[in-house]
Amino acid sequence: MKYMKEAEPSYTLSTVMEEAARCLLCHDAPCSKMCPAKTDPARFIRSVRFRNFKGAAETIRENNAMGAICARVCPTERYCELGCTRSGIDKPIDIGGIQRFVTDFEQQAQMDILHKGKPNGMKVAIVGSGPSGLQTAVTLLELGYAVDIYEKNAKAGGYLTYGIPEYRLPTDIVDFEIKRITNMGAEIKYNTTIGEDITMAQLKQNYQAVVLAIGSREAKSLPLFEGNPYMETAVSFLARAKMHHGQLELPDNVLVIGGGDVAMDVATTLKRLDVKHVTDVVYEEFNEFKASQKELLGTQAHGVTIIDGYVPTAADGKKVTFKHRHIDSQLVIEADKIILAVGQKANAAGLGLQLNHDEVPFTGYQAAPQVFVTGDIAQGDKTVVWSVKRGKEVATEIDQVLGGNQHD
């Protein structure tokens, strides 16, 4: 099935050397400056260039515990590749592709790069096992802390596991990255919702610090579709597709509403699951699109009909009426299923956390004595690589506050 197969082909030893040979090995490499997580692409591409694949793997893994995941899902055109000097000749180096080759090599060579630091006797609780919680755990473990992760779901990974589609991010890869982290000593307590099953007060009593890495776990909706039996939210649909390995009952005609990367994932997933007619109606016009160019082109290439500039104004069962935002034009689409991809929101119930548009209203990471935040609910980009950056940073901040190993 097309859904289960990784869409991008991977490099071979000879093609990765060709791509690495395109790298100009710049003096003050902009790519490394532009990676939010400081994964240091200039350094690992140079290692590949000089045939030190193990060294390349060390650079990636030590800087970014989600290395194999970022290799596949980073919007590199906005980060490292945006800075690539090679664009002055033709096009940027395929940094994500090289990173994927190296992390695949790391896995095949069974390298064990991350190690726990000398225990400092302190314990930290992390709420949420998405990329930010996982990276926080790794950096804290390296600094000598004991770490327990509390996860509401039955599987760890947050949107890595329940959101990003299989053809872009195989479950095997995510599971393997998580296993490295549990092997390091992080304990994950599944099916446990903080604020319901365990209170914040209990956590604060049992741990020196609590990190809220709760992401935006709930879908936003539109009042128009409340109670509509044909409607499903994007994150619900994507999670079902991933959990059922693409084995879903789907009608031939599906309408998607939304124009971000999540909407593109939904539309492309539907096509990869052989849905005949997929129509995506988008609020923004093409020139103001939120989805990345790469995702948009991918979706179009799969044959999705994308209609830009329309807002839904009425919904009657399967029938949805849209109006154009600027011109006098109306559109009625009837579909057997309607998927709403209009954003996600955080749920901080019982956590004593003030959020403003799903973000904390302050910069930095400390919310209250003993309480820290990280990941999508902290300020900044809502991407995996930013989650890694914030995971590293919150761990360092906690270490500064708690004093860590400094008394040895």
Partner: protein
């Protein structure tokens, strides 16, 4: 990040790792050597210092590269002689480096025009604080025939000048040999007889890399003319390895201490020199092209290799391959290895077919309809040219077969 001890003792001097700059512009002055040490090089062979009376007057431009397809610097040609800085400046730089980096190895490269020069220079660099001396008997583009590779090609002179250096200084000393000879053993043996403690090799190979076709002159062009001069970089690695193997295979030289030089860019290159008997390695061209930073991957890669090999002391790898290199007449010629074609990997380019027809034994056949190769074993001699040209690695070693009338068990052959 892996951390393994890369240190090694060579001629009684302790190197924290085997990677050294070879004598050339990459180790021209204090600032450069300082940056190299700070980047992690274990030692520096300072740019060759000559006698005060020998005037250095360089041409401009002075380099050229051999390119192949998109790869530049396959080989590198230079027309440079020895240090352009004054003797006083060089000695002052040596002194400052040794004071600031007492634990890094500082090797002075010297070159005289007569015995007295060699004695004097040896005394001067020892007084300046060098840990070791390297005699440059090998620069192929000196403006004097009493210097450089003309000396290195003459065993008598090698011996005489080595003895002169030993009179001037008690430091450990290596003689740097030229590859511009048919056999390096006599020059090396003469140097040892003169008092050298070890051998450094190779210096550059005499060359003409390219011609300007319109002006009908070699490159680089110096006021309309050019000159034969030294070639280095990746292209000379096979030549360097060959000389090193020949030295270690010569009677009495089985344990010859060697500092290996020539075309080293990666940890794999370095490991090859070490396996053929080099205790330390030296690099110039790759540093000129990429900078001192290449040592980071050379060190890290070598550590991983040692870990894979289960080796804790670099010394344990030195010379491990020497005994596996035999004279041509002693090789096992009783069998052949057929190519194995993986049609799932084959993308149908036909390069194996072309190379086998035009460059081998017309054994590879081509199915025009399927665009697929097929090996006819009646004609195949097992040269494996096809495997070497395949762009996707679809051709590998396959069935091993004894030649007609030969004894032996194919499965026991180490291929």
């Amino acid at each position: 990040m892996i951390n393994k001890d890369l240190s090694i003792d060579f001629l009684g001097v302790h190197f924290d790792n085997p990677f050294c700059l070879s004598s050339s512009p990459v180790g021209n002055c204090y600032e450069m050597c300082k940056k190299a040490y700070d980047t992690g090089w274990g030692g520096v062979v300072f740019k060759t210092i000559g006698p005060k009376h020998f005037e250095i007057d360089e041409v401009s431009p002075r380099f050229d590269t051999l390119d192949k397809e998109d790869t530049s610097f396959v080989g590198f040609k230079n027309m440079e002689q020895i240090a352009e800085h004054s003797l006083e400046e060089n000695l002052a730089d040596l002194k400052r480096l040794k004071t600031e980096y007492p634990n890094k190895v500082l090797i002075a490269s010297i070159m005289g025009t007569n015995e007295q020069d060699w004695v004097d220079l040896a005394q001067l660099v020892e007084a300046a604080g060098a840990d070791m001396i390297e005699m440059n008997l090998s620069c192929p583009q000196m403006t004097s025939h009493a210097m450089g590779s003309d000396v290195g090609a003459n065993p008598e002179l090698c011996k005489k000048y080595c003895a002169a250096v030993k009179r001037g200084s008690s430091l450990p000393m290596m003689a740097k040999m030229t590859p511009n000879i048919t056999n390096m053993v006599p020059a090396a043996q003469a140097s040892l007889a003169g008092g050298a403690d070890g051998i450094a090799t190779i210096n550059t190979v005499k060359s003409v890399a390219n011609l300007d076709l319109k002006r009908k002159v070699g490159l680089p062009v110096i006021n309309g003319k050019s000159s034969i001069s030294g070639y280095s970089g990746k292209a000379v690695k096979p030549i360097a390895l060959r000389f090193i193997q020949e030295l270690r295979a010569a009677k009495g030289l089985e344990h010859l201490p060697i500092s290996g030089i020539g075309g080293i860019e990666t940890w794999e290159d370095a490991a090859e020199f070490i396996l053929l008997g080099s205790s330390t390695v030296q690099v110039t061209t790759a540093v000129m092209q990429y900078g001192y930073r290449i040592v980071e991957d050379m060190k890290n890669g070598l550590m991983h290799y040692m870990a894979e090999q289960g080796v804790d002391h670099l010394q344990d790898l030195v010379g491990l391959a020497n005994h596996n290199m035999l004279p041509a007449e002693e090789l096992d010629r009783s069998y052949k290895v057929y190519p194995k074609i993986d049609l799932d990997k084959c993308i149908g380019c036909g390069r194996c077919y072309i190379s086998c027809f035009d460059g081998a034994h017309q054994a590879m056949e081509w199915d025009d309809d399927k665009r697929q190769p097929f090996c006819n074993q009646d004609k195949c001699v097992g040269c494996q040219l096809c495997a070497l040209v395949c762009p996707v690695g679809a051709i590998t070693y396959g069935k091993v077969e004894m030649k007609p009338g030969r004894q032996g068990v194919p499965a026991e052959k180490v291929i």
